[in-house]
């Protein structure tokens, strides 16, 4: 390989490491993203111009066209899409990366299958690339609401059998050094199918884990294609993404007190456990009105807002910021309590609230806000459910038992805004709603909060 090209790849790899490091700090994050972006651009340009192949002119035209088409479409989608659509967008782009890896594997199977190492990398690229491709597209469809959770009978067993069959099938192709393209197409179809089956049963609340996991898998797919070409920047870049994604996945799992296999194979929200837990609490709930809630908030000295997925669905992030500013102006100390898995992707609430200009010093992480609840006058829960469910502390039979939650029940008053009494995504009854200190403000988050704001303005 050309030495200039190798040096540029080395530089790109360094920009990836530095970029990722800088992404971890609020002040440097933006610059870090830019640095890795420049590194990536450098690698792409260098790959096109600094190679040792005889390349026909037509190939350059096609490469140019492909880059142009992809850049324009990618830029437009990324710029046009509303910030609230962020989880599905990240998922979609991630799927594209997986798709690219699977196509590379497909092409190279014909060219490269000389020895077992190469064949196995190609097979692995096809399997992992396909799973991330369809898996991410399904995640995208589910996140934008066009697809519901589907649980086939015995889906766990079926999925496990399919993945075992895929591995066995891949091993067979490697061992018998088969160059039969039919087998590869069959493998491709089965892997694509597995990607679909893998993601469709996973419930909304587990989406942050799955997105993060798929992200990690795309990195691994890139690394595997890197091994195939002996290309360092693909290998190291892919592994960085893979391990970073995996760590993030485990952080998400820890936040729910569940193991990764439990998320993937566990029937959360659909199993018998959840059904058994429903209806156990019962009791009476106390309904409230916007004006009563406004009075409560107006005379409080410390208010904590707990946002959840319902806030994102109702697109109420601007209204809630207005409410927060209004209360601050009236001398109320307002902050937001952010549960690590609130929403549908890691850090979902942070992005959502940042979009409406909420100062991120006001976003308090779970471990820091929990000790503050006893001194809090009013907690306003907007569209969150499982992350404030006390069953996680005191009901060992509950599927979420042991999950760290926001201890809002320690506050003096709790106002819960919900659309209806339906259980949360985990399908579990929430005894918080029956707590004496809790009043329920029913309605869509946006309209309920708008009403609350106008009541407060009149005071």
């Amino acid at each position: 390989m050309n030495i200039t090209l190798s040096i540029i790849y080395l530089i790109t790899t360094i920009t990836f490491v530095i970029g990722l490091k800088m992404l971890g700090h609020p002040e440097t994050a933006k610059k870090g993203n830019l640095i890795s972006g420049v590194g990536m651009g450098l690698a792409i340009v260098a790959t096109i111009f600094l190679h040792d192949f005889e390349v026909p002119f037509i190939n350059y035209i096609l490469i140019g066209a492909a880059l142009l088409v992809g850049t324009v479409i990618g830029y437009l989608i990324a710029m046009k899409v509303a910030m609230t659509k962020m989880p599905e967008l990240v998922s979609l782009f991630n799927g594209f990366g997986g798709g690219s890896a699977l196509l590379i594997g497909l092409v190279e199977f014909g060219n490269y299958s000389e020895d077992a190492t190469q064949t196995s990398t190609i097979i692995a690229a096809i399997i992992i690339g396909s799973i991330t491709f369809t898996g991410s597209l399904i995640a995208w469809a589910k996140l934008n609401g066009s697809m519901k959770d589907i649980r086939l009978p015995h889906y766990n067993l079926i999925n496990n059998l399919i993945i075992l069959a895929l591995i066995a099938f891949g091993a067979y192709i490697v061992m018998y050094d088969s160059t039969n393209l039919m087998l590869i197409y069959l493998l491709l179809a089965a892997s694509l199918g597995y990607g679909v089956l893998f993601v469709i049963p996973i419930g909304g609340a587990d989406m942050p884990v799955v997105i993060s996991l798929l992200n990690s898998l795309t990195g691994i797919a890139a690394a595997i294609t890197g091994i195939l070409y002996g290309n360092m920047v693909m290998m190291v870049g892919g592994i960085l993404v893979g391990s970073a994604g995996l760590i993030l996945t485990f952080i998400m799992c820890n936040a729910m007190n569940r193991s990764l296999s439990n998320v993937i194979f566990g029937a959360f929200g659909g199993g018998d456990l959840a059904i058994a837990a429903v209806g156990k609490t019962g009791g009476t709930i106390k309904k409230t009105t916007a004006s009563d809630s406004a009075i409560l908030l107006n005379y409080a000295s410390k208010v904590v807002i707990v946002p959840g997925y319902g806030l994102a669905v109702a697109q109420a992030q601007h209204v809630i910021h207005e409410l927060e500013e209004l209360l601050t102006k009236k001398g109320v100390d307002v902050s937001y309590a952010i549960h690590p898995v609130a929403g549908r992707m890691p850090g979902h609430m942070n992005v959502l609230l940042a979009e409406s200009n909420v100062n991120y010093d006001k976003l308090i992480e779970m471990d820091n806000i929990n000790p503050q609840f006893p001194n809090t006058d009013v907690v306003l829960v907007v569209g969150a459910n499982d992350v404030v469910n006390p069953a996680a502390h005191n009901d060992p039979s509950s599927p979420i038992y042991g999950m760290p939650i926001l201890d809002v029940e320690n506050a003096k008053h709790i106002i819960v805004n919900k659309r209806s009494m339906n259980a949360g995504y985990a399908g579990i009854e929430n005894e918080l709603f029956f707590n004496q200190k809790t009043s329920m403000l029913f309605g869509d988050a946006k309209s309920a909060l708008t009403e609350l704001v106008s009541e407060l303005k009149n005071m």
Partner: protein, 102 residues
Amino acid sequence: MNELVAFISNNLQLLYILILAIFIGVELIKNVPSVLHTPLMSGANALSGVVIVGALLVMLQAKPDDFLSLGLGFVAVVLGILNVVGGFVVTDRMLQMFKKKK
């Protein structure tokens, strides 16, 4: 077993790189505040678009009459660059929001 030993001794450098890269990835991410989880994931997602380099290699090495390789390579380049451009731009937009502090 012999094959495994042969594989390891032939690819020792590779294994070192893989293992060290895994540790770097883990160390880089371990203590990131949850505020940055989304941009981080999105930024890492953009980096996984590095797979485009492989797609470009496919296109560069394809013979002009090999329409299958050219066609699949073309789509692979489009998807790869979508992942790269879309990923970086979205991350940038997200981080832009975090900057607007009053």
